[in-house]
Symmetry: D2
Subunit: 363 residues, 4 copies
């Protein structure tokens, strides 16, 4: 039942449960000499904190980052970096009541089948969105490392509840956290907010789409034939709860394109080889081509809704109804935005190390 580590040269191991002691992560493979402080990590963790307004959970998550190892005199030492946030403000009562009622679209049933009923079901345990706090801590380290190469990663909300954001400039995307929806298109964000508000009033929830981009990634990252950049990015992104689809560049749109439309022409630009368009999403043959890496992630509506739902009582093995109380986001999409950034950073950092584009000692 292993499966809690990802990455070959930059290896992230996740531990912790929603209502246990803490959510934590061990990063093995970080080069020595990287300047790293608690505040570097805290800044990223704060981004996934519930925003103001109607968007997200009312659980007061004040995640204070602790670094337990791997840092000395303000720099990484080359030893594993263990980081965690403690769980506070935990109310497990609500879960106890519905212990035998399988919450639809949650992992209640599958985890029970897999772990013989021994899994920690409180607050979703290992399947809670809270585990992504660990991903974000690891991603913060990865982003600092990628920063030494000039790589920048940007994620933003491009669709919620059927409302699509219009095209935005990089400048606007960089500032997309000005609204709690992490959407660069302010007008669309306003509409999204209203739709979410309405869904919440109706005891319902909404899904959406997040776009991730990595800028200034050099050509040459990715290890065909199996450890392709798309494959490793997709695997990491599917570890984020609620993700049901991942596409690169033109994505599913390629199904309706002809080769002559989809093929990105190579052109000389400022003495460098680039492509005129970027339908490939910056990846050809599983290897980065120097253009921006672009991907889109489909996030399903939060499974926890207050409406009455049909389900099964697994204790009695009979049909039943369930109303999920507790504090839940009506739309998880905005909080998943920094997690998409983190997963991209983890994978790109792993591949940059594998391609020897980040040295083993940072000077």
């Amino acid at each position: 039942m292993t499966g809690n580590s990802i990455g070959k040269s930059f290896t992230v191991t996740s531990f912790g449960e929603s209502h246990g002691e803490c959510i934590g992560v061990v990063v093995d493979g970080c080069p020595a000499g990287l300047k790293l402080s608690v505040s570097d990590i805290q800044r990223e963790v704060d981004k996934r904190r519930p925003g103001a307004g109607p968007v997200s959970t009312r659980r007061a998550e004040e995640d204070r980052v602790e670094i337990l190892s791997g840092i000395f005199s303000g720099r990484t030492t080359g030893a594993p970096v263990c980081m965690l946030v403690r769980n506070r403000d935990v109310d497990s009562g609500a879960y106890e009541k519905i212990k035998n009622l399988l919450r639809p679209a949650h992992a209640d049933y599958t985890s029970r089948m897999k772990y013989g009923g021994y899994n920690d079901y409180r607050g979703g345990g290992r399947f809670s969105g809270r585990i992504t706090a660990g991903f974000v801590m690891a991603g913060a380290v990865a982003q600092k490392l990628l920063g030494t190469m000039g790589v920048e990663i940007l994620s933003h909300t491009v669709e919620i509840g059927g409302i699509a954001a219009g095209h935005s400039s990089l400048a606007k995307i960089r500032k997309s956290d000005v609204n709690p929806l992490r959407c660069a298109d302010a007008a669309a964000a306003e509409k999204m907010m209203k739709t979410i508000e309405q869904a919440r009033r109706e005891g319902d929830s909404l899904g959406g789409i997040i776009e991730g981009m990595a800028l200034k990634v050099p050509a040459g990252l990715g290890m065909p034939v199996f450890d392709t950049l798309e494959g490793d990015l997709a695997k990491a992104l599917f570890a984020v709860p609620a993700v049901k689809g991942v596409e690169f560049g033109a994505g599913f749109g390629v199904a309706r394109m002809r080769g002559s439309q989809n093929n990105d022409s190579f052109i000389m630009r400022n003495g460098k080889i680039q492509t005129a368009t970027n339908n490939s999403g910056g990846i050809l043959g599983g290897i980065s081509n120097g253009m921006p890496i672009t991907l889109r992630v489909a996030v399903k509506p939060t499974p926890s809704i207050s409406r009455k739902q049909q389900t099964v009582n697994i204790g009695a093995m009979e049909n039943a109804e369930i109303e999920v109380a507790g504090r839940h986001d009506a739309c998880i999409v905005p909080r998943a935005v920094p997690v998409v950034t983190a997963m991209m950073a983890i994978v790109l950092c792993d591949h940059a190390l594998r391609a020897q584009l980040i040295p083993e000692v940072i000077k």
Copy 2:
């Protein structure tokens, strides 16, 4: 520059190039005692052979499977199974002429950047669709193993060039190889064929979508938080050249659904817990829930088109034009169908072994 192995308990290692000696694969982790013959493998390999009609490449691929190890007295021994097909009918001349012209949407540029120009560029080398012959051989072993559990995997074409197939019964999908498009909807298949024919006449190519299904997969496969079933399936599928998107169940459609629509209700059916709908694609929390696993894969139009394209001559570092001659499929989608099946089988077999649902010795 590793990256040519996939799977933890059922490990597939790929080797070989399009115009080298052979395409091969080593399967490590196959339990002992499985009845396995060359014809079991050959049957699957034949499925990716170019069909009749206008669909696919005219290169006469008569891939004859050789098993080099791991079989004794008609059964697997528990030792690694090495299999290969020799390359015949190879014409590398066409590639030599355009050696310095980067073929748009191909890996010419990225492989040159990564391997310093030492990669075998003939016929695409490691980036050729031919490497999937190895995937299919490994997938054939995986399918035989999964067969001992009753698991069945089905893949079929659901969209080409904008023409979508209608819903088909399982019976029809099982027989979808009656037409060279691997499409269960005969009427749609006919239209697809005409569209492909036209694209070919115009020196162009088409993309499409493949649906994969795994039936009778027991609940409990998948290893959260990183080795989720979605994550490992997606990673394997992105190893198939030309795949640019992977989605499960309702996929990108979840972005426009409310929780009350997307959540699959649990219901008792014949004494078993099932879900009323299957928007999750049979996977919750990264773990199979006993429902059919369903996924969709976006395949880009074949990059090799005979139309004149804009590109760069990397020798001269200047803009240039290219016309890609040689034998190419106008639509690779149908030939990718058995490869999708193979990748699904490899991943599900790996997870069945990890979950101890296949024993180490088959009796």
Copy 3:
């Protein structure tokens, strides 16, 4: 710079430094349902505590075990188990003074070369014997799991400073912790103690040999050709600081034996196939044969001695002299005994899971 995880199905990830926050470990792959309490772990950790008398370090290590994850209602959940002990009573001053003087036979020089001088040198950092507290915590979990199969692991001191223990019964070995030397031969233990005392008085240190045994290991553990039982045990044991040799069964003695002496005859005993002798140490072809697994580990004398030694000042790049103050064991061998047990348990547990001899859910 990964390298801090070991095991494929029972994966142990180590973190922490001697004078940092803590020494910790994450165990991924522990089946669900195993009864596990802090006291199970504490009991093993206490065994590596400095004994009374002249043997070991005077640093007061009161290692109190904390479990941060993976346990719910007194049982493992199938999720990663993170455990740690805090560092207390830390005196880093002594190390600051000799920062540029390379301590002979320590990792000062190699770690500086590898980590560019960024490693945490205080108290040896990652190279301190203290990291083995983490190994012992993981080993305690492994021993509980192996206990469900009836496997018992025993380690004991068989030689120190040239004084060899005589052959002892299993009963005596089981009680070998009655003396602080972990030696089953009381008379030899007494002599060892005097020799150690004398070495300490002379500002010197002693090495020795530990024997490890695993009883009731079923036949079939081990994964040739590379993941042999000998290979994986040896690799794990060489992770224990100061180990310079590992041998199985007759070990280096085989060099002077003829085949007719060394070959263990098979015999029927109580209806079972066994071997008359056990020169193989219970392993043939890298796979356990059902006989006791026996191995011996050579432990070098503690590098830290108070005698004046010749060395180099790496700041000035010139020859220098060093006297290593601080609290050090004159003989580390007895404290390494529970660590040998732990490493054996970790490896055997990993292989028992890989061979499906431990189920994924313990009932």
Copy 4:
């Protein structure tokens, strides 16, 4: 039942059986651009060919190396290199007769227990010394790579049947293949030869010790705390059939040394930091220190002896006698010498790549 791959950045996957089609190996992770020809590999494979005289097996092994992939225009491409030698001159008859008689000290019993009787038992199958032909092919690639760094690996016989070789100069060790015993001390070699001859006449066999050395290995190889250089070297060496012990530097001798004797003083020599002695075998804290890496490997007497032995008939489950006919080495030690070199090369190459001391593209 995986376990046939070793190495993280230079990954070697073994396949094939003694009396099957071939013995092969896939090397994944070899940088692109390395000049490599069949003759580079053949040269090393020839070294493990049976020598003249009474030493080794009379089976005429004319192992002709075939390279199936990964080479183009005389250089590696960065793609996996698959190599094999065909099995010829195979006589499986002798094995059929004794199929149910467990050969003492062989893997007959353990492989049958593990693989449920499905393993290929002919000629030892996967447990034959012949699999090391694959190791040697991979080792030849590794040696070429290490050669680009100036690293040289030397192995030689230092003891057979109780006869120890005297100390020899590096020059003599480099030429130790002048005698079929691979022993640098000609006088000792002569005595060894006579002893082997006598053992053979008496239907018996002899064991011995091989010393391996790696020269000019830079400081910094090795990945603590688990992927230590000692640990990874030992694991690789225990994959060689018949190895029962591995020690580094002073090895088991450390048990009788005091710290003041064993500690290697650091000294300045020609402006470089070195150690006055090399009891550490060139490894401190699991990391190379720039001194020669030295290790010793204990090889057990060939299990196959023609003398009558006591054993069990596993078909009848009763005691029985066995006489192993067939062609066997009376002493396998000399033929294992190039295999020790190969294993050392594989591990050092893996660690050199992990430490980024070999680039991903060789120019």
